[in-house]
């Protein structure tokens, strides 16, 4: 199996840029790259995604979260760096990089990736408690996804209602692994792990012999309980507390909710 040419050249560019960055003559003012023609400042070591977010600029993404290390799996944040495709959540920003983000070409690809995620699982937005607060749904609106396009897979994904306070509905899982990261890095419990292979095999494992959440020490107060960007991990006995129409992404599109970091 080969490393693709574009991958290699992105890496080569990154290396070149890093060499340049090491030069003593470089000053802070030079730590700027171009994102869709706009100057974006960065601190060395930041990824394109981190720098853009701090700048208040939206790059579509699902599996990336500012509190955790990049997973790099959803590929929604694919950008073109000096003409080559790459994930903005894993590529370090370098001075002078020219990054394409919201171009028609890239948004087309992102729309297809979203459609893939929609047909891969079972997503019924109208009946979902997460509707309006869901990153997947909000991103689909942002990118004008009008239909699932592909045939639905209708996978068989059982619901786990065993836990007294939490419901797990894996029908909506997009394999972002944020619950894995939160349980591991914040809660120190390692209750979730990504397992399986391929389209039908890929799933979240729960760390108990029964495979049930009730047989773990998971708590509703865990960071992992509130990290899910879609409607897999939901609190029980609490539904539609905020009416549809007044929820996060009902108020403004996801692209306008990136808060510029205060220096």
């Amino acid at each position: 199996m080969k490393t693709s040419k574009s991958e290699v050249s992105v890496q080569a560019n990154a290396r070149e840029a890093r060499v340049k960055a090491d030069r003593p003559a470089e000053t802070k003012a030079n730590n700027i790259f171009q994102l869709d023609g706009e100057d974006v400042p960065f601190t060395p070591g930041q990824t394109i995604m981190q720098a853009a977010t701090a700048n208040g600029t939206y790059i579509p993404h699902l599996c990336w979260h500012p509190d955790f290390s990049a997973h790099g799996s959803c590929k929604l944040c694919t950008v073109k760096v000096n003409g080559h495709f790459g994930s903005s959540c894993t590529i370090e920003a370098q001075p002078g990089m020219e990054v394409e983000n919201r171009t028609m070409e890239l948004d087309d690809k992102r729309r297809t990736l979203l459609q893939m995620l929609f047909v891969e699982g079972n997503h019924f937005c109208p009946s979902c408690e997460k509707s309006g607060n869901c990153t997947l749904q909000a991103t689909a609106y942002e990118l004008n996804m009008m239909s699932p396009h592909f045939d639905m897979f209708y996978p068989d994904r059982p619901v786990d209602a065993s836990h007294p306070d939490i419901l797990l509905d894996f029908n909506r899982c997009i394999m972002c692994a944020l619950c894995v990261a939160a349980s591991r890095d914040v809660d120190g419990k390692n209750i979730f792990a990504m397992g399986g292979r391929g389209l039908l095999g890929r799933r979240v494992h729960i760390s108990s012999e029964s495979g049930k959440l009730a047989d773990t020490d998971f708590a509703a107060t865990d960071r992992a309980a509130s990290i899910c960007p879609v409607g897999v991990i939901l609190p029980k006995r609490k539904g539609f507390a905020i009416p549809i129409g007044q929820r996060t992404y009902d108020l403004a599109p996801i692209s306008r909710q990136v808060k510029k970091a205060t220096p």
Binding site: M1, K2, T3, S4, S6, E7, Q11, A14, A70, G72, S73, C74, K75, L76, T78, F85, S87, T90, K109, T112, L113, M116, L117, V119, E120, F150, D151, F153, M175, N190, I191, F192, A193, M194, G195, G196, R197, G198, L199, G201, R202, H205, I206, S207, S208, E209, S210, G211
Partner: protein, 599 residues
């Protein structure tokens, strides 16, 4: 011994080390038949890992079973070359005789029959794995006899020995296969030179990786050598990538069967150069049958002071371990291979950092192909000047080709780089050749007009597969077989590859059912463009190559299956009513739907 005691004994043998989970799972399964929930819990406790991690590894690999799979597990190699030799009919016949559906375990828990990705026996197929032991040259009579042995519950160890014979089929030797080195000769020469000068020789010889990508071996070793180790476990590692999973490739199998000393010696030379004391050979699970012979070759080398400490009287210390994979093509990707060596699912890492700086256990690691390491021995023994005289300017030395498919003499052919496709076809006795798939499904499909192209990094780079298709073959079916392969082998990490490979497979199946339209061809191109740019690793990036190539070069093979409409639904409206008709006992005109086009 109870199951628990048995599991504990296995884990103890591996010092309770979780990074050895792959070996722990395999050895446990070899004794217990499958990995039950209780078994996984026990293993997780014994290695002090979260249970979900252990389960995540266990259900990633095709050869680990978290459900009972029968006392006899028959897996038919499903490469296109096996199919061309009749594997589909033979497997069907076997299932019929056993009253089995493919993939299902028989009611009495005795046997299951299924397919598996290419087992690397393309020159002597159709091949099967029975309880992970390789059997070649299946025939109708072997099928009948095998069914009898399974029904009679004869242990696999007592089956006819000739069934397990695997031939080298070396058809053409050149500088590597005709080498005249004795064990220790190349390593001795390397030790005499020292690491620095040995590295310079490798660079001067312009040796490039034989796994297909052709990265400079000297550059890789140098980067690894120069990278500092990290933390308390600071060390450097050498890994030999013997996860030869690219369908149609079997040259590493032959090198490991008859040239193991050369491979181990190459690993030792790499160890000397990069400053490693430990090497690991990652052997694909399909080659499980080679394990004992390789272990004994290592023991012989230890006894001869070619491994261990004070090697050949020097201060150099180096030893080699063998790690067995468990059926996952993706582990041929070097960072996925390293994950697997660490006991995890074989998921390619985010790069950079590259393995040369942060690889196995986060330490500098060089991962090299079996053939590359063997070739390094020639450079050590004969010098770079001699070596670089062979091959071409940018591709020095020789290349082993695994030739299979429609030819009189399938097997291993070694040529200096620069040989034309036509020359290889002539030598292997291929007549009426329509196309050659070079370097496997992720490589390129070469049509007749291109047979004067050359095997070299300047023109056609290859990991070694060379599958020949004559005029009678349907290139659409070839591409469809490859589409199924990628959908099966996608690790599932990134969206474009996880979902895209299955969408491509389904589109190819739709076209095969004669429900396709030009719209579906456009969809294939669209998926190709998406997956090629957005995928996480080489698998997704190259998964559509065979479709792209065959669509461009053999378009009539697709078009004769298409309906001439712009859009055609994936299902037959009338056929969808067949169940309802059956249930109601109706078959009159009113119980049938007519397609719009017909009304």
């Amino acid at each position: 011994m109870s199951d628990t005691e048995m599991i504990d004994a296995v884990v103890d043998r591996h010092h309770g080390d979780g990074t050895r989970l792959m070996q722990i799972l395999r050895e446990t399964q070899e004794q217990l038949g499958w990995l039950s929930p209780a078994t996984l819990t026990r293993i997780a406790q014994a290695i002090a890992w979260p249970r979900a991690w252990v389960e995540g590894t266990a259900d990633f690999y095709s050869f680990f079973h978290t459900r009972p799979m029968g006392r006899y597990r028959v897996l038919w190699s499903d490469n296109i070359t096996d199919r061309m030799l009749g594997s589909t009919d033979l497997m069907q016949a076997m299932c019929k005789k056993l009253w089995l559906e493919p993939g299902r375990v028989s009611e009495d828990g005795l046997v299951s029959v299924d397919t598996t990705s290419c087992t690397g026996m393309c020159d002597q197929g159709p091949a099967v794995l029975v309880n992970y032991q390789a059997i070649t040259r299946m025939t109708p009579s072997r099928v009948a006899e095998m069914v009898g042995l399974i029904r009679g519950e004869t242990p696999v160890a007592d089956w006819p020995a000739e069934w397990f014979a695997v031939d080298d089929n070396i058809r053409r030797k050149d500088m590597l296969l005709a080498h005249d080195l004795v064990p220790g000769q190349a390593l001795g020469a390397a030790l005499e030179r020292g690491g620095d000068r040995m590295l310079a020789e490798i660079k001067d010889a312009r040796l490039r990786g034989r796994g297909g990508a052709g990265f400079g071996t000297g550059q890789k070793w140098e980067a690894c050598r120069n990278a500092p180790g990290h933390g308390a476990g600071a060390a450097h590692y050498v890994v030999c990538n013997a996860d030869e999973g690219e369908p149609g490739t079997f040259k590493d199998r032959v090198l490991l069967t008859s040239y193991a000393d050369l491979v181990f010696e190459g690993m030792s030379i790499a160890g000397l150069v990069v400053g490693a004391r430990k090497g690991m050979l990652y052997l694909r699970g399909e080659y499980r049958y080679l394990l004992e012979a390789l272990e004994s070759a290592l023991a012989t080398r230890r006894a001869a002071n070619l491994l261990g400490s004070n090697i050949l009287g020097s201060a150099f210390e180096f030893d080699i371990e063998i790690h067995l994979g468990a059926g996952a093509y993706i582990c041929g990707e070097e960072s996925a291979l390293i994950e697997s060596l660490e006991g995890k699912p074989g998921r390619p890492r985010i790069r950079p950092p590259f393995p040369v700086t942060r690889g196995y256990l986060d330490q500098p690691t060089t991962v090299n192909n079996v053939e590359t390491l063997a070739a390094s021995c020639l450079i050590a023994a004969h010098g770079s000047e001699w070596y670089a005289q062979h091959g071409t300017e940018k591709s020095t030395g020789s290349k082993l080709l695994s030739v299979s498919g429609d030819c009189e003499r399938p097997g291993i052919y070694e040529y200096p780089y620069g040989v034309t496709v036509r020359q290889v076809l002539e030598d292997c006795g291929a007549s009426d050749c329509q196309a050659v798939q070079i370097s496997g499904p992720s490589g390129i499909c070469v049509a007749e007009g291109e047979f004067d192209r050359r095997i070299a990094f300047e023109d056609i780079p290859t990991a070694g597969a060379f599958m020949v298709f004559d005029e009678t073959r349907d290139m659409f079916e070839v591409a469809r077989n490859f589409a199924h392969f990628f959908a099966h082998e996608s690790c599932g990490f990134c969206t474009p590859c996880r979902v895209g490979t299955t969408l491509v497979r389904n589109l190819m199946d739709k076209i095969a059912r004669q429900h396709g339209s030009p719209y579906d061809i456009d969809e294939l191109f669209k998926l190709h463009r998406l997956m090629q740019g957005a995928s996480h690793c080489g698998l997704g990036n190259s998964a559509c190559n065979p479709i792209f190539d065959t669509l461009n070069k053999f378009r009539p093979a697709y078009e004769r299956r298409l309906m001439s409409l712009d859009y055609e639904p994936a299902f037959d409206l009338d056929a969808a009513l067949s169940q309802a008709r059956q249930m109601t006992g109706r078959d009159d005109a009113g119980a049938h739907l007519q397609n719009e086009a017909e009304t």
